[in-house]
Homo-oligomer: 179 residues x 2
DNA sequence: AGCAGGTGTTTTACTCGTGAAAGATATTGC
DNA sequence: GCAATATCTTTCACGAGTAAAACACCTGCT
């Protein structure tokens, strides 16, 4: 969030961000807290979702970034190079290297060198890796459906649309993913 | 995101999540990707915002969690115990201890022991700490206003409201913040 | 051919956060 | 009063991510 978050306590109605915003308004009444209400909530949602979603994955012995990597391989259906995976998962090169090492040792992915360009490697899912992803994904989506059940279908569509708008802006603004 | 994200490439229209969802649908046509469209976008927005927002803070030599801690002290206007800060910033005890050590060394916060209960400490902002927060916060909010400028005011209100709804659900569902 | 510079990947050194255990003090029940 | 237990905070050992440098290899120029 923009400016620290946290619940002063379970303060009656509203989410924790509402309480935080109230506190800031009391200290700096002239401040425009509008952006905080959006960005703060996005960050807090993300944090809580991560804690929650880690549960189904942890059950399979995977971290989210590991699952993202496997998922990228599964959904493209192709062999990907480490460079591709860096771009697909928005991770640093070092992180991808470490994850590939781990996942290879666990027999979930395999590597082979490129015949033409011996700098590059090609990574693909093993059968075990593919089965693992295919097994986890439905559980994950079912769990998420439950998490979102408090928001009705129209609300979910609206949310997805608005976040998509914002995302286009952010993705345009923030050239220079990583290295 | 629920299941790996990433841009297959700059695939025409829509954000990167749209491309990811298309890929999944091609591989698992029967999958209900609805939750992914919401949760994936929340996570991706959070990731991008963090990268972006770190810039103004980094300029002041602060990480976001450090700023969150200072912000909690500033907006409550009170002395807080480490325990309070754990709850306010949703961090682990170990993390708060480390941050307090750093921030104390930098002269941004001060500690004193409790007279009654010698287990607890009380932390408050120094003048320098208060000035730093008051200096950064407007910059931060101005930056965020710019980031959100692609979404009109009604959209922002709608977004804040929907995220608030979701947040209430998540906060209710996820008892057991940390330790 | 040979080298200058670019690209793909890994290694290195380091920071930060975490869970579990320890440490220090309060509180409760006998 | 004193052991048993609970609470607040810090320490420890470790895993994971990062930036920057190193490495390995290709490409284009001369």
């Amino acid at each position: 969030m923009t400016a620290g978050n946290g619940p002063a306590a379970a303060s009656g109605a509203g989410d924790t961000l509402a309480a935080v915003v109230r506190q800031w308004k009391a200290v700096h009444p002239d401040l425009d807290t509008g952006p905080m209400e959006v960005i703060g909530r996005i960050n807090r949602c993300a944090a809580l979702l991560q804690q929650a979603e880690d549960a189904p994955l942890r059950h399979a012995g995977l971290t989210r970034p590991e699952f993202d990597l496997l998922g990228a391989l599964r959904r493209t259906g192709l062999e990907l190079t480490p460079g591709d995976l860096i771009r697909e998962t928005f991770s640093s090169g070092a992180a991808v290297t470490k994850r590939l090492k781990q996942l290879t040792e666990r027999g979930l992915v395999e590597r082979r060198g490129d015949t033409r360009d011996r700098r590059v490697a090609h990574v693909r899912l093993t059968d075990a890796g593919r089965d693992l992803v295919d097994g986890i994904l439905p559980e994950q989506l079912a769990y998420e459906t439950g998490v979102l059940s408090g928001v009705d279908d129209d609300g979910q569509r609206e949310l997805a649309a608005l976040l998509g708008e914002l995302l286009v802006q952010l993705e345009g603004r923030l050239r220079t993913p990583r290295g």
